[in-house]
Symmetry: C2
Subunit: 213 residues, 2 copies
């Protein structure tokens, strides 16, 4: 029976907080243990090394997000049904919202952390995450190709890549927009942000090459 949170959990929470705010490279063991009010040696005792702790952090939420992505996509395409581009993008993005709601983190912190994982992968993605990412990329490419038959595989890959960029930027620098414009752009909730992203990326996917309008 634990009266307070376990040390392991304290470390994880502190690391998530600090990494979300400052990025993997800038966070030291002492930063973590001081912030978690825990002994320095605890990290190595519970996780083996700083690097392994970071791998845990990276997998903790991305894996569930990717599973949920595939699950949603499966629903869309079962029984040979052809989903729309918009539905597929929804299946790609919404899991971020779903998973954060199942966690104890705030949306902003969670999004930043996800952004860090995507943009600062601290020495490449953890080895055992690569297959999952690949499966997601392949499944969604296939679905998008069916949804927009006029596109080539190559083009779908490019535009999925761009979609990734839109998401990463929004996750990581959601507040930059606010500051750069002196608050002219409001502080919309996550749901609004997702609709904006989907509008933008859907149109991007459906664009014709060299389109003028």
């Amino acid at each position: 029976m634990m009266e307070r949170k376990t040390t392991k959990a304290l470390i994880l929470e502190a690391t998530e907080r600090l990494v979300a705010e400052h990025g993997f490279e800038s966070v030291s063991l002492r930063d973590i243990t001081n912030n978690a009010k825990v002994n320095v040696a605890a990290v190595n005792y519970h996780f083996g090394s700083k690097e392994k702790l970071f791998e845990v952090i990276q997998c903790r939420y991305i894996d569930p997000v990717n599973e949920e992505r595939l699950r949603m996509l499966e629903v869309l395409t079962e029984e040979g049904r052809v989903a729309t581009v918009r539905e597929i993008l929804e299946a790609f993005m919404r899991p971020l919202l779903t998973v954060v709601k199942g966690s104890e983190m705030s949306e902003k912190l969670f999004f930043k952390l996800m952004g860090r994982c995507v943009m600062d992968p601290q020495g490449g993605l953890p080895e055992d995450m690569v297959p999952g990412m690949k499966r997601v990329a392949e499944s969604f490419t296939e679905a998008l190709l069916a949804a927009a038959p006029s596109l080539t595989t190559e083009l779908v890959l490019w535009r999925l890549h761009f979609t990734f960029g839109v998401m990463a930027q929004t996750l990581l620098h959601g507040e930059l927009l606010y500051s750069l414009t002196d608050g002219a752009c409001g502080d919309p909730d996550a749901e609004d942000q997702f609709q904006e992203m989907i509008d933008f990326c859907e149109a991007g996917f459906l664009a014709e090459k060299g389109a003028q309008k």
Copy 2:
């Protein structure tokens, strides 16, 4: 008369190389001076501190890019002419190509460096770069608003933000696409990449809210 490159230049080149590859946070003074085959003290002698060196690196190319952006936009809108969204996006992106061609760096290195500057701004943008960035954001927002009068200011800001994400992702992780798909997506030159980005972002800008097709 110098027979070989000046120490200052050697330091700058080595720093650009290392930062492009590993990011600001991961590069140490010794990394730089060893790589440049230069004495450790040289950095502080020529630049005052590591931080100031990094500021120089950040401004060295971003400032010219921003100036060229404004110049191109000015040409488009002179004499009260209303530019198209596509033309404006061109003015936003092409300066990256223009500037890299005027430099001595390879395209890939340059793009990665630009990506690092945008995504890892090493303790926020240098103070004297902020006004320039703001001017660019304001000018392009204004132009885009004129080009697509059906959009609100808020929406233009969001979509400019997304465009930024598309660029950053492409600059920084252009090779991720290649590796994640086992080379299924070719190795297109920079010009092709820009056309793909412009197609995608133009359509995104012209999207209607909640559009279904």
